[in-house]
């Protein structure tokens, strides 16, 4: 398991390659890249600033990964979340999961993203032509996270 909270961009291809490097038992790497969109719910977004809670962010992400490792048979996990000011099209988050089989890799990758969205202390502030505003949390994110409890 490896978790990073950083200002810098990341190289998704290198991260995916690292998840299987040296372990030919890995048959599947599922991954996710989240990016800054140029549109919020109704307005153009010119930039976004991600605030976070240093210390807790790393801890929260690590706990989410540990929970995923308890639920599925995983051979590697990697989470990178950026903070600071980002422009539309820039990468925000990477989640990669390696496993022997694709079912475990897909499920764990989506689980980590769903939990990250509701449990990791990051907050987005969008800059729009009408000024800056904090992004509201989405109910759909709570619902996405809650469905993992039903299993």
């Amino acid at each position: 398991m490896s978790v990073s909270v950083q200002r810098e961009d990341f190289d998704a291809g290198a991260e995916i390659a690292a998840l299987s490097a040296g372990n030919a038992g890995v048959g599947a790497v599922a991954s996710f890249v989240g990016l800054v969109r140029d549109a919020g719910h109704d307005q153009r977004v010119e930039a976004m600033t991600l605030e976070h809670y240093p210390g807790m962010t790393e801890r929260a992400l690590a706990e989410i990964v540990v929970e995923a490792e308890g639920r599925w048979r995983l051979l590697g996990t990697r989470v990178i979340h950026r903070h600071g000011r980002l422009l539309p099209g820039e990468r925000i988050v990477f989640v990669g999961v390696a496993s022997a089989h694709r079912g475990d890799a897909f499920a764990a990758c989506e689980f980590i993203m769903d939990y990250l969205k509701t449990r990791a202390p990051f907050w987005k502030r969008e800059e729009t032509p009408e000024g800056a505003r904090w992004v509201d949390a989405r109910e759909s994110d709570d619902e996405a996270a809650a469905r993992w409890n039903a299993n």
Partner: protein, 85 residues
Amino acid sequence: MSELNILYFASLREALGCSGERLALPDGVRTVGALREHLAARGEGWAALGAGRNVRAALDQRMVGPDAPLAGGEEVAFFPPVTGG
């Protein structure tokens, strides 16, 4: 008794005009929820911590509910629902 280290984030930090404070555990405050009520009672901008507001809390960097106990010396954070990812 050690002081609490209280932190505020994002829109709540802006509403309070304050990113954090150190505070001795107030008399009668034994839980995170009671601390929140105590702070909201300061009036004016502190109403942002009031009962009707969507505020989350972390105790020593773990998300907790209002019943989480306080003894003094902890790090307590208040913030709006998270929106990362």
